[in-house]
Assembly symmetry: C2
Homo-oligomer: 332 residues x 2
């Protein structure tokens, strides 16, 4: 049951090695009869091509690397699914590297992609201009920024105007009567976060509304819960009457604390998240959120990568629109 190679198949089918290869890769150049024999030989021997050899010869791996900030966040796992399915259509497979919010791990995954000679890289980067990305550019490996706008002209990108998203969120809160909005999220080294904050600031200023910032190092429900408790403990006079959480995972934690602390949503305090993950609609008080088309963004990113592969000198970008999704956690 050792490895069976193309040579074994050739022998068993009574044809040459090249014919086996051709039967598999350019069947139009091979007679029906030969194809048939090759196919049954493959079947009988249980032949599986060796991608390492193919890749070595071809100089291409037919795979992409996707580095993702934190796949536990359903937003990113949707992005991943979209990218995988789009890539698969064109015969590419995707190596997923989950950074778990750690820059270190992100870099390690990028190194791995380099070793594997992936044909392209999709990355939702943890910091603004990781030099590790440059390495790919220098090697001529196309890179697509996912969920992040390229400002250098060096990369293709799939993005969504997060500042606009921040504005939408805060405007909506203001329309619902908010006078004092809390922004929660971070770290601000992640561009999405700072953009959402910028948008929130702009909207708050335009409306003449107070904005208090609660910076965080990362985004998870536990942290949200802590922040929520801080809000609950605040004297009523100081307490914001609305919260914009930079992501749903955080928002859900906050929401739980607020309710646990006896605050009524949205009457005492309104809350809106970002991403519109499935969990948001299912929350105790269904969570308003700024929707991002995660699956489509992932799929589009893979498509742009393949397009850039075809036209190496071009850069492509696709902008998606944030859409307000109003549920019970805010007044409309």
């Amino acid at each position: 049951m050792a490895d069976v190679s193309i040579r074994d198949v050739a022998a068993h089918a009574g044809v040459s090695v090249s014919t086996v290869s051709n039967a598999l890769n350019r069947p139009e150049t091979v007679s029906r009869r030969a194809i048939g024999r090759v196919l049954t030989a493959i079947d009988e021997l249980g032949y599986v091509p060796n991608v390492a050899a193919r890749q070595l010869r071809a100089g291409r791996s037919n795979s992409f690397g996707l580095a993702v900030i934190n796949i536990t966040n359903p937003f990113f796992s949707e992005v991943t699914l979209g990218a995988e399915e789009a890539a698969e259509k064109d015969g590419y497979s995707i190596l997923v590297g989950n950074s778990y919010d750690s820059l270190d791990r992100q870099n390690r995954h990028l190194e791995l992609f380099e070793l594997q000679r992936v044909d392209g890289v999709l990355i939702a980067p943890l910091e603004d201009q990781p030099e590790s990305i440059e390495r790919f550019r220098n090697r001529g490996v196309p890179v697509v920024l996912v969920d992040r706008r390229d400002r250098t002209g060096n990369f293709s990108s799939v993005w969504l105007d997060d500042a606009e998203g921040g504005r939408l969120a805060v405007n909506h809160l203001v329309q619902g009567g908010a006078r004092h909005v809390a922004f929660m999220g971070g770290p601000l080294t992640v561009r999405q976060m700072s953009d959402r904050l910028d948008g929130a600031r702009a909207a708050a200023e335009a409306a003449g509304v107070r904005l208090t910032e609660f910076g965080t190092d990362t985004l998870n429900p536990g942290l949200g819960r802590e922040l929520g408790e801080r809000i609950v403990r605040m004297p009523e006079s100081e307490r914001p009457d609305a919260i914009f959480a930079a992501n749903d995972v955080l928002a859900l934690g906050v929401l739980q604390s607020l309710i646990g602390g006896g605050l009524r949503i949205p009457d005492d305090i309104a809350i809106i998240g970002y991403d519109d993950i499935e969990f948001a609609a299912a929350a105790i008080v269904p969570l308003s959120s700024v929707h991002q088309p995660a699956y489509d963004m992932g799929a589009k990113a893979a498509e742009l990568l393949m397009r850039q592969l075809a036209e190496p000198d071009e850069r492509f970008s696709a902008q998606f629109e944030p859409v307000l999704t109003i549920r019970a956690s805010t007044r409309s």
Copy 2:
């Protein structure tokens, strides 16, 4: 900026190709001087070894495949992290295939692993005896079942007695005064689910307590929320006074509906989950749960795989203990 090969490094360093290879892989056989020159050459040229070539020559890929049921579930993403870090210590990297609860996708990922010639497979299988696993066994590629006991003697495995976990959960509910327990979870084709149910049944029977089963096709918060609403709508006489949800992700959805429906936890109805994910402690009512040491299980699985690689004829198994973690959602 085209690809630079070991040949270029050799020329640049003024040594032979073999010396470069030796400097990298068995430095003890090469003089310090030569090593130095090779290293600087590598640095100056930006050489990155080609794994495809290395793999082709070596016949091994130095990588494992890990097929996981649904990585959005923090339990599995912890398992993945554990496996990745354990494997990395020994120079292996891990290809992660997320099945998103789909058998089809799981099989596609397994095929990919086969093409890539992974040196071993870690799998949290979606069904009991996928024939796709057999293929690896036939090829002599070691397979470790993750979060699932092997009953055939063919595979190494890392597991936890889920029946015992189910018993623990229901016993705990009963001790808290429950007379009518609801079990929620599925599908029962996934062994973990049926084992948890079996344990629950046994405990309920032993205690003379009624057990109602709510079968599901999958486990997500939205589904939990639906089930919770069904509970809320039940006439009080029919309504269970305790719930055992087969996993925390489901439990959290259920919990939200219960609270939204005005039931008091745990007075009107107690609820316990399974996995003890981080989110559980942070829930609106902190969720009691059956703890599984996810990270350790992942790490152990990778270790067993490497051990089986060293001793191909042996099979190893590691059993972990489910531990009751009591929080506010149940009476103690």
